[in-house]
């Protein structure tokens, strides 16, 4: 792996993990388009690099939402000591996040490996990218039908039920499929449960933090496997770049979703997925 490849992969991870465009899908499609055939994805050095990218992204999310996390963790501890959920909205949000993380924990650990083996090809990544775009269009259409046509009111985040949080967590788990975006799926689910874009994005990013962080932390032992020094350097650099890109992305997206919707990302995913599908079909990329 060259330094250019390391930097580009780190950028794709940092930006793609939070923009609803699927970082996993792009880490399959972009190297295929650029004909980076010499990257050995099973190499311990490359795996350590991927771990560093995830940790960089999770750390950026924690730093961006540090005040929220301090309030939520404090509220969670208070509710456990008290033995019930009180009036503080952060207590409810904390428990919603705990409950919403369970599906991705179970499904991620159980199915990640077989799903990667089954669907890790360019054609599947392109196909799921198109599906990701269509899911976002559908979510926006349902939201408009509920709120603009039927004038249903938006709900604050803490009014979500635990069942709805589990369903959003299941939505997030579809991001195990390369091409399906974690934030796109969880935001769409949030919109279906009457959250506005801003609240859905906030919940999606808060919910993504433990999942991305755990994905990195569980693989930390890979850092202790024999790894060439150059790859460790790439891992540190990649983690830094991915963290900065993730921080910039979440800062941009939280502002963007105050007044915009998911449709531009839907158009991008559908178009990019279709182009990649045609290129894959013609044998240009594989």
């Amino acid at each position: 792996m060259t330094i250019t490849q390391a930097l580009l992969l780190a950028l794709i991870q940092g930006v793609g993990e939070l923009f609803p465009v699927s970082s996993l899908g792009h880490t399959i499609l972009v190297p295929a388009i650029l004909h980076w055939n010499r990257i050995d994805r099973a190499d311990p050095g490359f795996l350590a690099f991927v771990v560093a990218l995830h940790l960089g992204t999770a750390l950026a999310l924690v730093v961006f939402y540090r005040r929220d996390w301090i309030a939520i963790v404090g509220a969670l501890v208070r509710s456990v000591v008290r033995g019930r959920i009180g009036d503080d909205p952060n207590e409810k949000i904390g428990w919603l996040l705990v409950v919403g993380t369970i599906p991705v924990g179970i499904l991620g650990i159980t199915f990640e490996h077989p799903v990667r083996l089954l669907f890790g090809s360019v054609a599947y990544a392109a196909m799921f990218l198109v599906v990701n775009g269509l899911i976002m269009f559908w979510g926006e259409r349902m939201r408009r039908r509920q709120h603009e046509d039927r004038h249903r009111a938006y709900r604050p985040l803490e009014e979500l039920t635990f069942l709805e949080s589990i369903l959003i967590g299941i939505g997030q788990s579809f991001a195990l499929l390369p091409g399906i975006s974690r934030s796109g799926a969880s935001m769409t689910a949030g919109l279906l449960f009457d959250l506005d874009h801003s609240a859905a994005a906030r919940y999606s990013f808060l919910l993504a933090t433990p999942a991305i962080g755990a994905a990195g932390l569980l693989e930390v032992p890979k850092f202790f496997e024999p790894t060439p020094h150059a790859m460790l350097g790439f891992a540190v650099l990649g983690g830094l770049v991915s963290g900065i890109a993730a921080y910039a992305s979440v800062a941009f997206l939280t502002r963007y979703f105050r007044s915009h919707d998911l449709r531009p990302f839907g158009w991008y995913c559908t178009a990019a997925g279709c182009i990649a599908l045609v290129l894959s079909w013609k044998g240009v990329i594989r």
Binding site: R84, I102, G105, I106, P114, L218
Partner: protein, 64 residues
């Protein structure tokens, strides 16, 4: 519900031990094998801890 949460926690701890020992190789096609993957016992332990928290949240009387 409190009793159910505690029973679930105990079952999950047993599954964690079985999976850690490699005895819980009940779904080899998913790679669920304690000798090769430390993630599964860890998942069972975390779920057991969550069940105990659930039991704890059932302990206090509800505010009227």
């Amino acid at each position: 519900m409190k009793a159910l949460a505690i029973v679930l926690a105990v079952v999950l701890v047993v599954l964690a031990v079985l999976s850690w020992q490699g005895i819980g190789d009940f779904a080899p096609w998913l790679g669920i094998n304690g000798h090769h993957n430390v993630k599964h016992p860890l998942l069972f332990v975390i779920l057991a801890a969550l069940c105990l928290l659930w039991a704890r949240m059932q302990a206090a009387p509800r505010a009227s």
